[in-house]
């Protein structure tokens, strides 16, 4: 059992340390390690975990790690896999942030950060375009998009409430559609 947990930890720490970007960018390495090497899941199962991870709360990579760890060694396995996944992030980010606190005031660092912020704006704009393309599939989702903007932007409502409103309207609309069909 201890050996199994150790293997889980090391495998997911490796994946966490070697992938940049999370989400889908992690899939090739996950497939190699989890499906091909360790045979903890079939490729189809892995894709299922991914799909569920995408539509449940939390970080997709963490959700997938929890799934695999849980099926291998129960609750403790899920926790150990997740801890493995986040440990490299913790170490790397803390080191970088600590260093940054020391160098933030150097003019060169400040200039570089300003250029980086400009690029972040461009990257984020593309993220918004991708997200919108995937989620705006019909008139109802387009309306929900507008409602979301009004709530968050104009009325400054907490994001939690906006997500809940989306869920409730989604269920209600599909219920009405179902009734109409009959």
């Amino acid at each position: 059992m201890v050996k199994k947990l150790l293997t889980l930890f090391i495998t997911f720490a490796k994946i966490g340390a070697m992938t940049f970007g999370g989400g889908l960018t992690m899939l090739p390495l996950l497939t190699k390690e989890v499906v091909e090497k360790k045979k903890w899941a079939t490729e189809e199962q892995l894709l299922n975990y991914y799909a569920v991870g995408q539509c449940t709360p939390g970080i997709i990579a963490v959700n997938t790690a929890t799934f695999i760890g849980y099926y291998q060694a129960g609750l403790i396995g899920g926790i150990v896999a997740t801890v493995g996944m986040v440990t490299p992030s913790l170490i790397i980010i803390i080191a970088i942030t600590a260093a940054l606190q020391q160098f933030m005031d150097y003019p060169v660092v400040a200039s570089a950060l300003m250029g980086i912020r400009a690029v972040v704006c461009a990257l984020l704009s593309h993220t918004v375009i991708t997200l919108s393309r995937k989620s705006l599939v019909d008139i109802v989702t387009a309306m929900l998009f507008i409602i979301g903007i009004v709530l968050s932007f104009v009325l400054d409502v907490t994001p939690i409430l906006v997500v809940v409103v989306g869920a409730v309207i989604g269920v209600a609309v599909n219920k009405v559609r179902e009734v109409r069909k009959k």
């Binding site: 992938t19 940049f20 999370g22 995408q54 709360p57 970088i96 606190q101 972040v120 989702t141 903007i149």
Partner: protein
Amino acid sequence: MTFLYLFYEFFKIGLFAVGGGPATIPFLYDLAASDYGWFNQKQLADMIAISESTPGPIGVNMATYAGFNAGYKELGMGGGILGGIIATTGLVVPAIIVIVIIAKFLKSFSDNKYVKSAFYGIRPTVAALVLSAVYGIIAQTFYQDGAFAYEVIIIALIVFALMFIKKLKNLHPAFWLVLGAVAGIVLKL
């Protein structure tokens, strides 16, 4: 006390940010505007840059970064490390609970029509949330100290346009971020 609030706030994010990394941005934006003073909206852009260009899931990286900043402000280096760990723990605990519950009846969950309907409605609102947070970040970056930062705007527009080119589309974000850093240094922004 700060650490308790850190855990609580990131637990909330972990529970309500559906759709991974980008979905946490609106919550972090909200947090930056709050009275906690852990980080401001300008730092959020740095957080995103660092999270995108270092290994690991972006959402986890951002939680660590935010937690570090919050703890560092309070207690220096030791507080920073503790803050990073606590924020990340807060972020993943709800996910572990939810996934373990779902893992018991995986198939019926992903096929459930109510679950499907809920996410049909959630996805566009998440896109809207991310859009308004991104608008805020862009406004902060483009308009600084009472004036438009023209060089910054031009760099952003050029990169935004280049990313539509097919061959450049799949380049890693880190490539563009390094490019931005070089441009910033050369132009002495």
